[in-house]
């Protein structure tokens, strides 16, 4: 359904070009969820924004293919993209969206804005749709006539998710949807997302820094490091046996409640995206580093839709 290939997005700053998304490829089937995990600054939010074409003003390079149902979105002009894709086929819930609700506009009026603008629906019909969406996410439709300050954090996040579902999208992109919420509220939102995707047959891109949380939704996992996907795998395989040394190290640093294990950390810090190393970007911190790592590692397919970007898995070597 969705195919992203060789997506590149650089932007220019005073200190040089930042390679926020650097040659990223993955695909997603209908009803499937991919979790994009990585640490802060690895480019996971930039990747999401690049898919919905919400680019920073100082963007310098933007190329690659984003194919949704056979149409290359990169070739659409801005107007068509706005009318047919953004907020209709693809909805995007940015990080901390719950705090960006307009405090002086009633929930209902904020929710229906995309319907009035994009779908040219009349207001009564739109409000009815909004009420339905609110009920779907477990919020009473009486809140249509309330202001955001009257809602708790968890409720606001539900309203935001309802907004993203209004246009019955095919793909929903969620950027850290629960990072400012409490654990119980977070579990509630995860339950909600699981239910919604099943009922609507929705595909999701779920962006998070929390490895344990990502397993709540992920059918597929993409691990990002310094602007690149270093590993793409199926959930079943990935959480039990990650392949890339960075994924392995990341997994070792995740505390677990139910199992006993020794925690470890990754010394050093990720390279600057201003001038990343030519070879493998993780090599500096990698315990398995060898001479080949000074060259850019190829993408080695492991099976049909999983791959790893590491010299250790190159065909012929073992």
């Amino acid at each position: 359904m969705l195919g992203v290939s060789n997506l590149v997005m650089y932007y220019r700053t005073l200190r040089g070009e930042v390679r926020a998304v650097d040659d990223v490829s993955f695909s997603l089937q209908k009803g499937e969820t991919i979790a994009i995990i990585g640490e802060s600054g690895c480019g996971k939010s930039s990747l999401a924004k690049s898919i919905v074409r919400l680019l920073p003003r100082n963007v310098s390079t933007y190329r690659g293919k984003v194919i949704l149902d056979g149409v290359n979105l990169m070739e659409l002009d801005e107007e068509t993209f706005n009318r047919e894709v953004r907020w209709t086929k693809i909805t995007y819930v940015p990080q901390a969206a719950l705090n960006s609700l307009n405090p002086v506009i009633k929930i209902g009026d904020q929710m229906i804005e995309p319907l009035l603008l994009r779908r040219k629906m009349d207001k009564r019909e739109a409000l009815e749709r909004a009420a339905k969406a609110l009920r779907l996410v477990g919020v009473s439709d009486a809140f249509l006539h309330h202001y955001p300050f009257e809602l708790s954090g968890g409720m606001k996040q539900r309203v935001i998710i309802a907004m993203a579902l209004l246009t019955e999208p095919k793909l929903m992109i969620l950027d850290e949807p629960t990072s400012s919420l409490d654990v119980l509220t977070q579990a509630n939102i995860m339950n909600l997302l699981k239910r919604v995707r099943k009922e609507m047959g929705l595909s999701m891109i779920f962006i998070t820094h929390d490895v344990a949380l990502s397993s709540e939704l992920a059918d597929k996992v993409a691990v990002m490091y310094a602007g690149q996907i270093v590993e793409l795998g199926n959930a079943e395989e990935f959480y039990r046996d990650p392949k890339h040394p960075y994924s392995q190290k990341l997994m070792e640093s995740v505390p677990t409640l139910r199992r006993d294990k020794e925690l470890s950390f990754i010394p050093g810090s990720p390279p600057s995206l201003l001038n990343p190393p030519k070879g493998c970007r993780f090599a500096e911190r990698c315990p398995f580093k060898f001479n080949k790592c000074s060259e850019n590692p190829p993408i080695t397919p492991l099976d049909e839709d999983s791959y790893v970007k590491c010299w250790l898995y190159e065909k012929g070597s073992s």
Binding site: S214, S215, P255, L257, R259
Partner: protein, 326 residues
């Protein structure tokens, strides 16, 4: 066996809020409402709870950064509940705070050296050479090495993990006996988190330091503390040894918390978790009964919603504030 360092008895901290015309109507937010807690020398304990439960206020009140409303704080046998300014200076030296947001906690216009020198000057280290020696020693201790590379840097030049190590260095430079670490890793990335927790643990062991670790994240407590206090709506609702609580949680709130925290496991995506409905009570006017009863799946009508449960010792060292065990 081991010496008691800190005893907190029935500690309360209420904040006044004024509302209405000219602020004539006064309310009190009961952020900490009758907490008992003990800590032995060299022990690490965790206080776990969700945002707004009063855990940070509890930590800050113990450090006397807030004036307690009621109750007693006894540190090394000395009642410090209402110490005056002069004597508090001694208490400040015996205690330290590690804040949640390291960048916010560090003055942006001071170098690493100035930041660490300030507490030494305030506490009367007159000899410049001695101060410098201590700064070098503490930086090595928190592994901001080579020290020469860091000493003249400003906070914004350090990574998040390095900033947090600097905050820790500042909190231990006077060699205190007690540290309160308030969510020290919640702003950091996973791979750095473990590094900071290990550093804290290492310092705790080698200096025989007592640490109160305040967190919302139960999964990290296992690696760090010997005992856990679970806090809900300004009360401690359960306390026990870390292993014991994780293996055998008794309070319905603790059970709910443990149930929802995910481990990385691909089967998670097929299960819907049971989550208590509703939200924690307003602390201006909390229910006079058990504060968890409106959300509790095993609530006993006519008891839980009427009377506040006492703290019950159900097993040796395992306390629960719940009528199910009364």
């Amino acid at each position: 066996m081991s010496e008691q360092l800190l005893r907190v008895e029935n500690l309360k901290k209420y904040f006044e809020v004024r509302r209405g015309l000219f602020g004539r109507r006064r309310f009190y937010v009961r952020a900490v409402d009758g907490v008992d807690l003990t800590l032995t020398k060299g022990e690490a304990v965790s206080i776990v709870g969700e945002s707004g439960c009063g855990k940070t206020t509890l930590g800050k009140t113990i450090l006397r950064l807030y004036e307690p409303t009621d109750g007693r704080i006894i540190f090394e046998g000395k009642d410090i509940t209402h110490l005056g300014w002069k004597e508090l200076k001694w208490y400040r030296r015996e205690t330290g705070l590690v804040q949640q947001d390291p960048f916010g906690a560090l003055p942006p216009f001071m170098t690493v050296k100035r930041i660490l020198e300030e507490p030494l000057i305030i506490h009367g280290f007159k000899d410049k050479r001695e101060r410098e020696e201590r700064i070098y020693k503490v930086l090595e201790r928190v592994r901001l090495t080579p020290v020469e590379d860091f000493i003249s840097k400003y906070p914004h030049m350090l990574s998040g993990g390095q900033q947090q190590r600097l905050v820790i260095a500042r909190s231990i430079i006077l060699e205190p006996k007690l540290i309160v670490a308030d969510e020290p890793v919640s702003m950091l990335d996973a791979s750095v988190r473990v590094e900071i927790l290990k550093l804290l643990q290492d310092l705790q062991k080698s200096y025989n330091l007592s640490v109160i670790y305040i967190t919302h994240d139960l999964s990290t407590t296992k690696y760090f503390s010997e005992r856990i206090f679970i806090m809900y709506a300004a009360h401690i609702v359960e306390s026990a040894g870390t292993r014991e609580i994780l293996r055998n949680p008794m309070h319905p709130y603790t059970k709910a918390l443990l149930n929802v925290i995910p481990d990385p496991d691909p089967s998670n995506r097929f299960t819907i978790k049971e989550v208590p409905t509703g939200e924690p009570p307003n602390l201006i006017d909390p229910p006079p009964s058990c504060r968890f009863h409106p959300r509790c799946p095993s609530v006993v009508k006519g008891l839980c919603d009427v009377k506040e449960p006492p703290m019950i010792e159900v097993d040796k060292g395992h306390y629960v504030k719940c009528w199910l065990y009364g």
